[in-house]
C-alpha cells in the first residue's frame, strides 16, 4: 500500500530530475523543517527538504569541525558528492548552528544559482516574532521573484498554503489511524510517508494519500502490535533502525520529530488579512524544535499529550550525536515523561547506527515496559 511512498523516498533524485523535465521551475533545497515551503511552491518551484543518505563519508572534515552533528555533515556530503547536481537553489530557515554550517559550506563549495538565508526568529515565544517573520517572508518572496523574474501573487500564496494544509490534514488522518489498538500502519510506513512528502510535489503526494486512505482505514496488519512506542528527538529518517524496532515486538505509533509530526502538525490559519502574516503565524505556532523552545519548555506538554492520545507504552528518546539543542532538553524531558508514567530509553544516533547493540537495548527496554502488564 505504501510502495509509492517508498519509491519516492528511495529514488528521490530520479523523481526530482523527472520533475525538472516536466516543469518550468527549479528544485530548491530546504535546510530545516522551518523553511516556509509555501513561498517556494507558490513561485512554481519544487521545495525539497535536505536529508542525508546514512552512508559513512569522508568529504566534510575540511568544512565542518567534527564536534557538530552527524546529520549536518551527512547533508553537506550529499552536495559535495554531487548527488544534487540538478538543484539550482538552496535556502536555509535559521535554526541550529549545526545545520546552518551545511548551508554555508554548500553555498561556498557546491555550485548553485540561488542561495537564501532566512533569518527565522529563534525566540518564537514573543509576539514580536510574528510581525518580524512576516517582514522576513516578504523579503524572501521578493528575492524569489528576482531570481526567476516571476511575480508571486497573494493568490498563488493562498493556493500553495491550501495545498500544504491539505497535505497536513491528510497526514493527520493517517496518524489518527495509529491511535487505536491495532494501528493501520507501521511506524516505518508512517516515517516514509512523511519523509517522502519532503521530496515530492505536494499535490501528487496528496493524491496518493487520498487514494490509499479508504483502503488504509479498513486495513488490518498481519502482525502483533506489541509495545506501543513513541519516538522523540532530533532529525530521524533512519528507516533501518525503526524496521529493527518493529521486528522485536513493538510498533512505533507516534513521534515528535522534525521529520515526522512536527513537520505537519499545524496549518496556516487564513484570516482574510495579509497572507504572509498567516504563513508566518503558522511557523511561529508550530511544535518547536528545542533550539527555539525558550523561555518556557512548550514542547513537553505537547509531547506528553501525544503520548496520551496515542496510548503509548514507552518512549524512545533519539538524539543525533552532538545535537546541542536536544542535549539541552533530554535530561529534563526524560524526567518529565517518567514522572508522568512513561518509561523512556535514550539512544544516541550517528549517520549509521549499530543495530546489533541497539537491538539488545531496545529488547531490554521492551521487557521492562512489558513487565508492568505481568505484575
Amino acid at each position: 500500500m505504501f510502495s509509492k511512498f517508498f519509491e519516492w523516498y528511495e529514488k528521490r533524485h530520479d523523481y526530482a530530475r523527472d520533475w525538472l523535465t516536466k516543469n518550468d521551475g527549479e528544485v530548491v533545497g530546504c535546510f530545516c523543517s522551518y523553511a516556509p515551503e509555501e513561498l517556494i511552491y507558490a513561485a512554481g518551484h519544487l521545495p525539497v527538504r535536505m536529508l542525508g543518505s546514512h552512508e559513512p563519508q569522508d568529504v566534510t572534515e575540511p568544512h565542518i569541525f567534527g564536534m557538530y552533528c552527524p546529520f549536518c555533515r551527512d547533508v553537506l556530503a550529499q552536495g559535495l558528492k554531487g548527488r544534487f547536481n540538478y538543484m539550482k537553489g538552496i535556502m536555509l530557515a535559521q535554526s541550529c548552528l549545526h545545520l546552518r554550517q551545511s548551508f554555508t559550506s554548500w553555498r561556498n563549495h557546491v555550485p548553485v544559482d540561488y542561495a537564501y538565508y532566512l533569518y527565522m526568529p529563534n525566540k518564537v515565544q514573543t509576539d514580536h516574532a510574528r510581525s518580524y517573520l512576516a517582514g522576513e517572508l516578504a523579503k524572501f518572496r521578493r528575492s524569489l521573484e528576482e531570481w526567476t523574474g516571476r511575480e508571486i501573487t497573494d493568490e498563488a500564496l493562498r493556493e500553495a498554503a491550501e495545498v500544504y494544509n491539505e497535505s497536513r490534514r491528510l497526514a493527520h488522518e493517517v496518524y489518527d489511524l495509529r491511535k487505536g489498538p491495532n494501528p493501520a500502519l507501521t511506524g516505518l510506513e508512517a516515517m516514509v510517508m512523511v519523509a517522502s512528502s519532503f521530496m515530492v510535489d505536494k499535490k501528487e503526494h496528496n493524491a496518493e494519500l487520498k487514494r490509499i486512505l479508504p483502503e488504509l482505514k479498513e486495513r488490518r496488519l498481519d502482525r502483533e502490535t506489541g509495545a506501543r512506542l513513541m519516538i522523540v528527538g532530533s532529525e530521524d529518517d533512519d528507516t533501518e533502525f525503526i524496521r529493527m524496532v518493529e521486528s522485536v515486538g513493538a510498533t512505533v505509533v507516534t513521534d515528535d520529530h522534525c521529520t515526522g509530526s512536527r513537520y505537519f502538525w499545524n496549518s496556516v490559519e487564513f484570516t482574510n488579512g495579509d497572507i504572509l502574516s498567516d504563513i508566518a503565524n503558522r511557523y511561529v505556532d508550530r511544535p518547536t524544535c528545542p533550539t527555539k523552545d525558550f523561555e518556557t519548555r512548550s514542547r513537553f506538554p505537547h509531547i506528553l499529550q501525544l503520548a496520551k492520545d496515542f496510548n503509548v507504552d514507552g518512549v524512545l528518546l533519539i538524539q543525533q550525536k552532538f545535537c546541542d539543542p536536544h542535549e539541552c532538553d533530554m535530561p529534563p524531558l526524560k524526567e518529565y515523561l517518567n514522572e508522568n508514567g512513561f518509561p523512556t530509553l535514550f539512544l544516541e544516533f550517528d549517520v549509521t547506527v549499530p543495530l546489533g547493540p541497539m537491538r539488545i537495548r531496545v529488547e531490554a527496554f521492551l521487557e521492562m515496559v512489558g513487565e508492568e502488564e505481568l505484575f
Binding site: L97, T104, N122, E295
Partner: protein, 435 residues
C-alpha cells in the same frame, strides 16, 4: 638577547581588583537589599541597570572560565553536571556553571549566590537553554532576547526593531518581577558607558598593531574580561580609557610584551583556560600572539573606516549625539551590539574570514593558530571554513584541538608538538637553539 625593553603593566593590579570586586559585589548584593541577576556575557546588561544602582550581575561565560582555571573545582563541576545526565559535549562554560550551582560552591569562596532572575540574549543554540535550566533549578523568572537577526551588513528596520521591541518588552517584565520603577536615566547612562567601554577596548586592541606589540594575548585575556562582566559600568569604561592611555604610552616608548618579538601570531576562539602556558611557550620562539578576533571583537565594537581599515567604532557621544529617551537608548544599544564582530560569523563564515584577514594585514600577522574548541559550538561554528579561507589567502594557519573549559579534552603535549611543527614551517627556531 632581548631586542626591546619590557615592563609590567601598571594597570595590572587594578584589573585584578576590579574583577574580584565584581564577584564580591554580586555575592554581597543581598546584604544591602540589592538585586542579583545572571545571564550571558553578551546579555544586554545596560537594561537591568535601569532598576537601580544596587543591581549586580554574574555573567556565565567568564564565571565558567574562572571555574575552568581551577582544575580541581572544574572537574567536580563537570562531574556534577554529568551526574545529572547532561552530555559531555555541551558548552563547557555552561557545564561548569551548572556544576557550581548543583554543588552550591562559588568559585570565589562560599556558597553559590543564587540570582533573583535570569536575563539573557540568544544567538547560540546553548544561550536560551542555559538560563532556562538555571531558572527552572533555582525557581526564578527568566527573560531572553533573541538577537539572531542576521549580520550587521544586512541590518534593516525590521530586524533592528525585532530586537528593540523585545528590549521594551523586557523592561516591562523587569518592572513586573522586581516591583521596582524603571529609571530611564540610569539606562541612558549605562548605554553611554557601554558604548564608551567597548569602543575603548577596541582602541586598546588597535594599539597592538605597533611593533613591538605592547600587549600579548595572555595578558589581554585578563583585561578583556572586564567587558564580559559589566560592559555597561562607568568603572569599567573608565578603566578601559586608563588602560588605553597606558598602552599608548607603551607604544610611544617601544615597551614590548615580548622583548624578543620576531614573529607575530593570532589565535581564534577562547583559549583552553587551564593551559594558558601555551602562550608563554610561544615566547620561546620570540613569537607574540597579538590577539584574535575573539579578544578584539567578543566585546570590542569596531567599524570599517573610510580608508578601508578596521578601527574602533565611533560612539554616539563622539558623534555629538545626545541620548534622551528610552527608545533612543534601546535603538542605540541594539544597533551597537548587532555590529559586534563576534556575532557576524553566526550567519556566514566568510565574514569572519574577511575580518581575520583584515587583522592579519593590519596587525602584521605571520601565522594563525585556530583553536578547534570542543567546548563552544558558537565560536567554533564555521571554523573549518575559516581555515580554508585563510589558507587560500596564502596565510600560514595551524589548528589545535582542545576545550576552553574541560581540561579532559586538551592534550598538552600534542598541542605543543603541533606548535613546534608550525613554527618550523614559519622558519622560526626556538631561541635557545638559535643562539
Amino acid at each position: 638577547m632581548a631586542e626591546y625593553k619590557t615592563e609590567p603593566l601598571k594597570s595590572w593590579n587594578k584589573a585584578k581588583e576590579l574583577r574580584l570586586k565584581y564577584y564580591k559585589e554580586y555575592q554581597d548584593a543581598h546584604k544591602n537589599g540589592g538585586l542579583r541577576w545572571t545571564g550571558g556575557a553578551w546579555s544586554f546588561d545596560a537594561i537591568p541597570a535601569g532598576l537601580g544602582r544596587d543591581v549586580y550581575n554574574i555573567t556565565g561565560e567568564p564565571y565558567g572560565a574562572s571555574l575552568a582555571f581551577d582544575k580541581q573545582l572544574s572537574k567536580e563541576c563537570m562531574e556534577a553536571a554529568e551526574a545529572k545526565g547532561w552530555a559531555r559535549d555541551l558548552c563547557s562554560y555552561m557545564r561548569n556553571y551548572w556544576g557550581s550551582m548543583y554543588l552550591n560552591k562559588y568559585a570565589f569562596g562560599g556558597e553559590y549566590p543564587s540570582p533573583d532572575f535570569c536575563f539573557q540574549d540568544h544567538i547560540c543554540c546553548s544561550h536560551g537553554k542555559w538560563y532556562q535550566h538555571v531558572a527552572e533549578y533555582k525557581k526564578i523568572p527568566y527573560f531572553c532576547i533573541d538577537v539572531s537577526v542576521g549580520p550587521y551588513e544586512d541590518l534593516d528596520e525590521n530586524r533592528l526593531m525585532f530586537v528593540v521591541n523585545q528590549m521594551h518588552e523586557s523592561i516591562e517584565w523587569l518592572e513586573k518581577i522586581t516591583g521596582r520603577k524603571y529609571q530611564d536615566d540610569l539606562l541612558i547612562e549605562a548605554v553611554e558607558n557601554e558604548c564608551r567601554s567597548t569602543s575603548a577596548w577596541a582602541e586598546v586592541c588597535y594599539l597592538n598593531m605597533a611593533k613591538p606589540a605592547p600587549l600579548d594575548e595572555k595578558t589581554m585575556y585578563s583585561l578583556y574580561v572586564h567587558g564580559t562582566l559589566a560592559k555597561h559600568s562607568k568603572e569599567i569604561a573608565d578603566f578601559y580609557e586608563e588602560l588605553r592611555d597606558e598602552v599608548k604610552y607603551r607604544v610611544d616608548n617601544q615597551i614590548a610584551a615580548v622583548p624578543n618579538e620576531r614573529c607575530r601570531l593570532m589565535s581564534d576562539t577562547q583559549p583552553p583556560w587551564g593551559f594558558l602556558k601555551v602562550f608563554r611557550y610561544l615566547e620561546n620562539f620570540g613569537a607574540v600572539s597579538i590577539g584574535s578576533l575573539y579578544t578584539f571583537g567578543l566585546i570590542g565594537i569596531w567599524e570599517d573606516k573610510p580608508d578601508g581599515t578596521w578601527g574602533p567604532r565611533t560612539t554616539p557621544m563622539q558623534k555629538g549625539e545626545s541620548i534622551t529617551t528610552r527608545d533612543q537608548a534601546l535603538r542605540i544599544l541594539a544597533d551597537w551590539n548587532l555590529s559586534k564582530p563576534e556575532w557576524q560569523h553566526f550567519y556566514d563564515p566568510n565574514i569572519k574570514t574577511r575580518m581575520m584577514l583584515q587583522i592579519v594585514k593590519q596587525w602584521g600577522v605571520d601565522g594563525v593558530m585556530l583553536h578547534l574548541n570542543r567546548g563552544c559550538e558558537g565560536l567554533s561554528c564555521g571554523i573549518m571554513e575559516n581555515r580554508l579561507g585563510i589558507a587560500e589567502a596564502g596565510v600560514p594557519v595551524m589548528t589545535f584541538e582542545g576545550n576552553m573549559g574541560d581540561e579532559r579534552e586538551f592534550d598538552e603535549k600534542r598541542v605543543m608538538a603541533r606548535i613546534d611543527s608550525f613554527m618550523e614551517t614559519l622558519g622560526i627556531d626556538m631561541l635557545q637553539k638559535a643562539q
